[in-house]
Amino acid sequence: MQNSAQDAGMDPGSTEFKRELLQALPSLRAFAVSLIGQHDKADDLVQEAIMKAWAKQDSFEMGTNIKAWLFTILRNEFYSQMRKRGREVQDSEGVFTNQLAVPPAQYGALDLQDFRKALEQLPADQREAIILIGASGFAYEEAAEICGCAVGTIKSRVSRARARLQELLGVNGQSDYGPDALSAPVTTRSFA
């Protein structure tokens, strides 16, 4: 069974929309998994998002940013599911995230797993902001559009998320990654 997005995308019969969707799928999935923390739930969400996107593909303009469009759909779906479930909306308290048992092998270094746990302790709005900006490669303006809020809101969520992660992981703003101390002047808390 061929299992590569590219090969599937090469299918001469497939529509352009499908090809674009396939191309964006890995990052859409990465967004979902890092947002939710569980592969199975995240994949369910991705599936929902694909079906929604497919159903309203007429509203997508070819040539515009399909990634942002898909992320918006997935995000809306995520929040509407959370609202339905009520309880899980409170995941900012880490109520259910603390019970997550993710096989370490799935994420490589143990290090990363710690990071992942810390990430899941953030409120969802901060988590999505830091993922969109720090990992998905969106500009603040794009992230603001995806989340339906002001640019300043995204910026402050990112800052709070970063500060909280530093706290949880016991790192300060200063990097362990080399001599460049100049890059973290604002965030460094002085321990001295």
């Binding site: 998994v33 994949d43 990992a135 303006e141 339906g148 640019v151 973290a184």
Partner: protein, 76 residues
Amino acid sequence: MSEKGNLRPRGKQSSGEKHPGARDELGPNSEIGSKLRALYTSIQEETIPDRFLDLLEKLDRVERGQGCESTVPAME
């Protein structure tokens, strides 16, 4: 949501170059930024599950009117 005009101050800027704010906070010298990207990339590089390829295949087939299956996934 603020005015549309505010959302695109200087044209497209997402491709290629890093945005200044993010560079300071989450750039290559930020441990948090590096770990976040490492996590994200590890997921992104996973093989796409068959269920999605099958789903798209099915949707596409139905779209082109060749779907013998009447089982279009419910859109709700």
